[in-house]
């Protein structure tokens, strides 16, 4: 089944409004920050891909958000009414790969990569992540992934197979570069000590 059709039928099978990360989808489809009400007349209508990309890539203070899963999406906007194809492509911008990773996970095709394997592939400045002490990993995951990101780090915290009729969970099968950057700083400090 095409990803877009899977997504459409998942929406049809679950009660609206639907929450994905920090956004909420209303029938029709309308997309807003989950803390905004779509009928609020103060919301600005956001059209065009460039404006939406800017909204996703920068926080309210104009700072760059390299990690899409990090909480801090701007509020005060509305997208829609959107076709299912437009909604699907907006989600790709908001949380890249979210639907595809969930479909692969539910279909038991998503294979998380253990951290040592990811670290082993790093070269140059990031090679030092290979020397990150094993015992430091849980604290880093807690700080960066659990508290600082809305995705579930499958590569470190095993998850039970999600309830198929449940939420649109954001998954992460492999430590991202943002994580590696933080891990690198930690490993470099340890190495120097």
């Amino acid at each position: 089944m095409k990803l877009i059709h899977w997504f459409e039928s998942r929406l049809a099978q679950t009660p609206s409004p639907w929450t994905v990360g920090e956004v909420r989808i209303y029938p029709g489809y309308l997309l807003t920050h989950r803390e905004d009400a779509p009928e609020d007349s103060r919301l600005r209508n956001l059209s065009g891909w460039e404006a939406f990309l800017d909204l996703v890539r920068f926080d309210a203070a104009g700072r760059f958000r390299p990690l899409r899963g990090a909480p801090g999406l701007q509020k005060g906007w509305r997208r829609g009414p959107l076709s299912i194809a437009e909604l699907f492509s907006d989600l790709r911008v908001l949380y890249p790969g979210a639907v595809a990773l969930l479909v692969a996970w539910e279909g038991k095709r998503l294979v998380p990569t253990p951290f040592p394997d990811t670290a082993r592939r790093q070269t140059g400045l990031y090679e030092v992540t290979q020397r990150l002490p094993r015992e430091d990993l849980p604290a880093l995951v807690e700080q960066i992934c659990v508290r600082g990101c809305l995705r579930h780090p499958l590569w470190h915290l095993p998850a039970s197979q999600p309830d198929k009729q449940e939420r649109l969970t954001l998954l992460c099968p492999e430590a991202c570069h943002y994580f590696l950057h933080q891990a690198r700083s930690r490993a470099a400090v340890k190495t120097a000590a």
Binding site: F64, P66, R68, P96
Partner: protein, 271 residues
Amino acid sequence: MKAGAPSMRISGGSALVLAGHGSLFSPESALPIYQHAASLRNTGMFAAVYECFWKEEPSYRNVLYEVEEERVYLVPDFLSHGYFTREILPREFGLTGPVTRRNSSEIRYCEPPGRHPRMAEAIMAQAEKALAQTDCRDVALLLVGHGTDRNENSAETAWEQAERIRRSGRFAECGVAFLEQEPSVLGWRDLVGPRDLVVVPFFLSEGKHSYTDIPRRMGLACHPRDPGFRNPQTMEGGRRVYYAGTAGMAPTLDQVILAQVEAFDEAHPLV
């Protein structure tokens, strides 16, 4: 489609995956990749166009979960054909050669746009834009790339394009310099004759290298982001230096990407 677009015969249902570098710090780094993807989506030549990044999301490793088309053109949205395009990308995508077949799908790994002959045109267009009305036949063009000691092929692309620019005869001469390898941009005065100069950063996006590193190492008083910046700046002996936008920001880059896809199909015909 823009004028001068390659006459493509991409078989229906193919996907295009643009693999860029991206950055954790500079939002500008990924911008050209998004622009190229949007513009190539609009051509309707591909069933779908996907972006992916080394430093941002989606990653090279995750993007293929999104790709549903059986034939995939993977184009590194890079200028240099070096460490990333020859080592990192093939490894991360699990490529086995120019054409990688996996189950019923195939990945057709194209060369980066920076390597295509049409890239020379894009570089010269950026230079001419900076020069405005000035006759470029009296001006030297200096192409400044990054360079690296990690892969000896990295600089080759800049040299190839410089040679094409020289052969075109449109500029008085064309030199090449690098930030991280020899010949260093610090010695730029020895790399071109004592005439007016236009500098084109051989980078895909604007950023710290083009806004700060190159101008500072060249000793330019005004950097492109300074409020009073304008072309040209006058240096010792009255020499005028024009500073252009990066080669990768040339408006025809999407067409160069298409040309690379077409070149790939010529070299590896569809069966």
